[in-house]
Amino acid sequence: MECVFGMVGKGFALVVADTSAVNSILVHKSNEDKIMILDSHKLMGASGEAGDRAQFTEYVQKNVSLYQFRNGIPLTTKAAANFMRGELATALRKNPYMVNIVLAGYDKETGPSLYFIDYIATLHKVDKAAFGYGSYFSLAMMDRHYHPDMTVEEAIKLAEQCIEEIRSRLVVAPQNFVIKIVDKDGAREHSWRRTTKD
């Protein structure tokens, strides 16, 4: 029942993820941060098998750092996306990572970008993306209301509408959501949408 979605706006990209950690019928915690800050200008929302999620995202983050130390400049979002896809593809026919990723980044030359990377190493550059059962509702909402070059306020409003839709229509909807944003000033947490305190 994990929900991750994201969209590109004017000069920024947004990633929203639920924050529940669930095992069968038990909710371990409702404040699990699934959106990793890869480097100063990249965000990675990940959903899927919890162990694989942590392992893969941390591995990618350290390799992105290593690239920066070796070469003196950070990876572009496109390069990071392709690196991730390559790692997923290599592992696919041996021991696949069951992780779905929405990668958002801001590059000085090309502006904001969003990448859809699923667990069988599909890579698409997109304006809006979503994973999980919540995607049925959030994608529909975004298809209806998204337009290019939205402001931050408009995008947040759309994200809230998606969250509202997930909460009301998904049978076991996650309780809390976190919104993170990346723009020219860097990647950072924007806000939470809670129904429970944890």
């Binding site: 941390e58 591995y59 350290k62 390799n63 750092s65 290593l66 130390f69 070796r70 003196g72």
Partner: protein
Amino acid sequence: MARYDRAITVFSPDGHLFQVEYALEAVRKGNAAVGVRGTDTIVLGVEKKSTVKLQDSRSVRKIVSLDDHIALACAGLKADARVLINKARIECQSHRLTVEDPVTVEYITRYIAGLQQKYTQSGGVRPFGLSTLIVGFDPYTGVPSLYQTDPSGTFSAWKANATGRNSNSMREFLEKNYKETSGQETIKLAIRALLEVVESGGKNIEVAVMTKEGLRQLEEAEIDAIVAEIETEKAAAEAAKKGPAKET
């Protein structure tokens, strides 16, 4: 004696590992490098050869970052340095991945020294021909550290040290003039030590300053300004020495 320096794995009768000592010779021929530890700042300075006019100096960075809070300068074979630095950078990230914590300065120094030692005890390989100066702040205690490693694989912590060409003169100078400093004073002490053996001027020295915020490479203009300050201080000291003598 010639029989005992062919292979690294052979001790000489009087207990020397000649290949290691020859590696130390290579270090002594490398360019001068100095490191000074202050209370809130650690400074690394390296000699830059100014004879190469057509070379793009930005591609030759002699003081490198290993991680956000660790920097390294070295003297000796620069190609060997590239290999060691690459391995150290990987280890810094690998450590963060496995234990979710940044390396301490001592840990990464021990790692680099361990690598250098490995190559003194294997067949068919030669030691790394460089000594490193490793600086950084402990990520938990915030204590600044300066370490030195050499081709034999030994390492130790220092308040201030020098390696490479004319390192003995620089070390002597530091022993005479070292005191606990902070901020700009630490930078000045490091540059003064380097100026003992290097031609004066910003284009002959590369200086980097490590603070809790991270590593900062000084611009040529900044270095020139500090060098000018040092020269005026020196001239004033000389004049003061001569001054009182005249009065009596």
